[in-house]
C-alpha cells in the first residue's frame, strides 16, 4: 500500500475540480460543433492550457505540471490516485484528449524517474516502446530477460555515445513534439534513450486514418544510425524496472480513460432516455431500455471500481503489472459493452456523428486493441503468474 493517505480528501477534491473546470471551460468549446472528433484546430490551445494550469505533466521542473500533472512527480510519493481521477474526469468528455495527456504524462514520468539530467526545454515527449509486432515479449518483463522480439530497435556503443537503429510503431504523441523516449535493446541489454527530434537520422511517418482517439498524433518513428551522447541514456542501468513501471502505469491510465468514456456514455444515454418519446411514453419507462441502461451503468461502475483499486499499486512490482494487465483486459470489455449498449439506447441518433456517442464507441474500440491487445495481455498474465 502506497502513501495515498498523504493526499488529503480536500486535495483529491481539488484535483477533480481542476479536471471538471478544464472539461467545461477548455474542452467544451472544442465540441460545440458538429465535427465528429471536435474542432481539432483548437487542440494546441487546449493542450497549452493543460500545461499552464498544471494538468499536463512535463519533465521540466519549471513547468506547472511537473509535480502534480497526470503521472507527474508526486505519483512516486503519493501513488496513482490523483492521476487516475484526473483521467477519469477528462475522458468523460473526450477519450482522445485524455489519451494525449496520459501519454505525455507517462513519457514525462519516465524521464523524471530516470536519470537526473538537464530537463529544461524538454516539454512534449513521444514514448517509443512498441515494435511492429507489438509490445516487447513478455518474458523480458517478468523478471527473467529473454530475447526481445527480433524486430526491436537496436543500439550499440560508439565513441562517447550510442547509435540507435530500428523503427518504433504506434507512437502516440502531442504535437509539436520535441523529443522521443526510445526503448531499445542490445543483446538483451535494455536501455532507454532521450532523442531530440531534430537529431540526424530521426524520421516520423504519420499513421493513416484510424477509428478513434483522433486527437492524438500517431506516428511510426524510424531511427537510422541515430547518434546520441551518453547523457541521453536515461535508465540508470535499470531499464527493465523502468519498463515494468511504464507498462503498469500505461495500462492503469488506459483503463481509467476507458472507465471515463463509459461513464460519459452512460450519463448521456440516461439523459436521452428521459427525453425521447417512443412507444407512447419516454423510453426510460420501457423495461427493455431500463435493462440496457442499468446493465451499462453496472458495467461502467464495476470498471471504475477496478480502476480505483489500481490507484494503490506500487508500479514497479511484477504483481502490479499483472493487476494492471488484468484490469486492462477486463475493464475494456466491460466499458466497451457499456458504451455500445448506451449507443443502442440512442437508436439511430447514436450512430450519427453529431450526437457524440459514436465517437465514444470509436475511442473505446481503439483503447481495447492499443498498447497490448487482449491476446498479448492474456499471454503476459499467464507468464507472470508462472514466474
Amino acid at each position: 500500500m502506497t502513501s495515498n493517505q498523504l493526499i488529503s480528501k480536500e486535495d483529491l477534491i481539488q484535483f477533480e475540480e481542476l479536471a471538471k473546470a478544464y472539461k467545461t471551460k477548455t474542452l467544451g468549446p472544442l465540441f460545440d460543433n458538429d465535427l465528429p472528433d471536435g474542432d481539432l484546430s483548437m487542440l494546441n490551445e487546449a493542450m497549452d492550457t493543460a500545461f499552464n494550469i498544471g494538468l499536463c505533466a512535463a519533465p521540466d521542473p519549471s513547468q506547472p505540471g511537473y509535480e502534480y500533472g497526470i503521472w507527474g512527480k508526486t505519483i512516486n510519493e503519493t501513488g496513482l490516485l490523483s492521476s487516475v481521477l484526473l483521467l477519469l474526469q477528462i475522458a468523460e468528455e473526450c477519450g482522445g484528449i485524455a489519451a494525449l495527456l496520459h501519454w505525455q504524462g507517462l513519457a514525462s514520468q519516465c524521464l523524471i524517474y530516470g536519470k537526473e539530467q538537464q530537463k529544461t526545454a524538454i516539454k512534449r515527449v513521444g514514448l517509443c516502446i512498441q515494435n511492429q509486432s507489438g509490445l516487447p515479449s513478455f518474458e523480458q518483463v517478468a523478471d527473467s530477460v529473454e530475447a526481445i522480439s527480433p524486430d526491436s530497435c537496436k543500439y550499440h556503443r560508439e565513441d562517447s555515445g550510442y547509435v540507435i537503429n530500428g523503427t518504433k510503431y504506434f507512437v502516440y504523441c502531442m504535437e509539436p513534439i520535441d523529443h522521443y523516449l526510445v526503448f531499445a535493446d542490445c543483446d538483451n541489454n535494455l536501455a532507454w534513450f532521450l532523442v531530440p527530434i531534430d537529431t540526424k537520422g530521426v524520421s516520423a511517418e504519420a499513421v493513416s486514418h484510424r477509428t478513434g482517439l483522433r486527437a492524438c498524433t500517431l506516428n511510426n518513428v524510424s531511427f537510422d544510425n541515430v547518434l546520441v551522447d551518453e547523457e541521453y541514456r536515461i535508465d540508470n542501468d535499470n531499464a527493465l524496472n523502468l519498463l515494468r513501471k511504464t507498462l503498469t502505469i500505461a495500462w492503469t491510465g488506459l483503463s481509467a480513460i476507458a472507465a471515463g468514456i463509459a461513464r460519459g456514455a452512460v450519463n448521456q444515454a440516461f439523459q436521452y432516455a428521459s427525453e425521447r418519446y417512443q412507444g407512447g411514453t419516454v423510453i426510460e419507462n420501457h423495461p427493455i431500455i431500463q435493462g440496457l441502461l442499468s446493465h451499462s451503468y453496472a458495467r461502467a461502475e464495476t470498471a471504475r471500481s477496478m480502476v480505483m483499486s489500481l490507484a494503490y499499486l506500487e508500479p514497479d512490482k511484477t504483481e502490479s503489472m499483472m493487476k494492471a494487465a488484468s484490469a486492462k483486459l477486463v475493464c475494456l470489455d466491460l466499458c466497451f459493452a457499456a458504451v455500445t449498449d448506451s449507443l443502442q439506447v440512442l437508436g439511430g441518433y447514436g450512430y450519427m456523428e453529431d450526437f457524440g456517442m459514436e465517437k465514444r464507441l470509436r475511442d473505446i474500440t481503439v483503447l481495447k486493441s492499443s498498447f497490448g491487445s487482449p491476446g498479448y495481455l492474456k499471454k503476459f498474465i499467464f507468464n507472470c503468474h508462472k514466474e
Binding site: 458538429d34 465528429p36 512498441q130 509486432s133 507489438g134 515479449s137 522480439s149 527480433p150 510503431y169 504506434f170 499513421v207 493513416s208 486514418h209 484510424r210 477509428t211 478513434g212 418519446y277 417512443q278 412507444g279 407512447g280 427493455i288 431500455i289 440496457l292 466497451f336 455500445t340 449507443l343 443502442q344 437508436g347 439511430g348 447514436g350 450512430y351 450519427m352 456523428e353 453529431d354 459514436e358 464507441l361 470509436r362 474500440t365 481503439v366 481495447k368 486493441s369 492499443s370 498498447f371 497490448g372 491487445s373 487482449p374 491476446g375 498479448y376 492474456k378 499471454k379
Partner: protein, 458 residues
Amino acid sequence: MNPEHIAHNGSQHPDTKEISQKIEMLEMRNATGSMNLFGQILVDNREMSLWQHDTNTLPFSARRLRRKALVFASEHIRPLAAEADLNPDKFNPERIMKLAAQKGFLSLMMPKPFGTTPNHIFFNNPVLLIALAAEEFCTECGGIGLLIMAHNLGIAPLLISGHIPTYLRHLVPFYLKSTWLGNSRIAAFAITEPGAGSDVEETIGGAQARLSTTAKRVKGGYILNGSKCFISNGAIADKISVFAKLEGEGIESWTCFLVENDMKGFSVGRHEKKMGQRASDASELHFDNVFVSNKNIIGKLRAGWAINRNVLNYSRPVVGAMALGHGRGAFERTLEFCRNTNLGSKKLIHYQDVQYELADMAITLMSTRATIWHSLKNFRCNQSTASAAKVRASDAAFKVCSQAMELIGDHGYLHSNGIERSFRDARLTQIYEGTNQINRLAIIEHQWNSEIKEKENG
C-alpha cells in the same frame, strides 16, 4: 519435416522427424487411406473453402448468382471501398449503380422476364438472391452494399402491395427499363420520421406514434406534407415509397405513395453523417404540399401499415445477410493479415491462439449464414424467422468484427486494413430495420397466439 506443418497442429515444436511423420499420418486426408472403400466414400476430404461448401448447398441458379455477385464485388466494389468510406462527399454512386443495373442486381425483386430472378427461385423465396448478393457486396463495402440494397427496399412496397394496377403502372415498367436497358434509376423507402423511429416498426409503438407526414385528399390525388429522416438513398433516389397518414386519421390510415424526385414541393434536406456505411447517404426528405396523383398510390388506401410491416419481414433477412457480409469481410481481411504478418519467427497464422480465434469467427459466420438461409426457405417471409435472422446476424457480425480488430492489435484500428470499416458498418445493422430490441418484440407479437400466450382450459 515441415516446421510449419507442426505449428499448424499446435504442438510445441517437436524435435523429431518421427513425431512429425506421425502427425502427417494421422491427418484425415492420409488416415482415410487405411479404411475400406465404402468407409472412404463416407469421408469428406475435399479441399474447398467454406464459401464453396455453402454455395454447393444452393440450387443451381442461386449458386450462379452468388458467384456472379462475388465477382462483381471484387472487381467493382472493392477498388472503391476505402475511398468511398473515407470521403463519402466526393463519392459519386452513379457508375456503380449503372454497373449493378447492367448486371441485373437492381432488378432481382421480380421474376423473369420482368426482373432477373429465375421463376423457380422467385417462387421459392422472392428475396433469396437479393440476400446472396447482399452478403457478397457488403463483404467488400457496407456503404456501397447499402446503396444497392436500399434500392431494392424502395421497390419492395410495390411488389408487396400485391396490387395489380401498381404492378402495371410502376413496377413492371420500372423493372423492364432496369432489366432490359440497364437503366439505373434508383428507389428509396421512407418510413422513419424525427418523432417516430422504432414506433413505425412495431405494433404497440405504432399505435401511439406521433407522426407528422400527412396526406390530404384533393381532386385527382393527395397533397403530402411533412418530413422523413435517415432515408437511405434519399438524396439520389428517383422514386421514393413514402408512407403518410390520411389527414385527420391515425397510423391505421397509413398509405404508401410513390413520390418522384422531380415533383414540386419535394426536397432533400440534411445529409446525416454516419459512423459507418458512409458511401450510402442517409438524408432528410421534406414534403411541402407535394401533389401525388391517385395513380401513385401503392396498393390500397390505408394498407400502408400492413405493407410496411410486411416489407420489413422481407427486408430483415437481407439486412441479416448484409451484416453477415460485414463480418465475413472483417474475417477475410484478418485472415489475410495473419497469413502475411510475422510474430517472431513465424506467421501469425501458425499460432494456436490465433487459429482458435479465427475458428471461433468462422463458426459464428457459418451458423449465422445457416440462420439467414433458413429464414429464406419459404415463399412468404415469416415475421419471426426474419426478425430472428436479423438479430442473430447483426449481433454476430458485430462480435466477429470486434474479435477481428482485437486479434491483430493496433493494426486492427487502421483504416488501411479495412477491418475497422467493417466494424463501423456492422454496428448499424443492430439499429436499422428495427433495433434488435424491437425485432425481439416482433417475434413475441407474431408467436403470441400460437405459442406464447397462456393456454386455454385443457
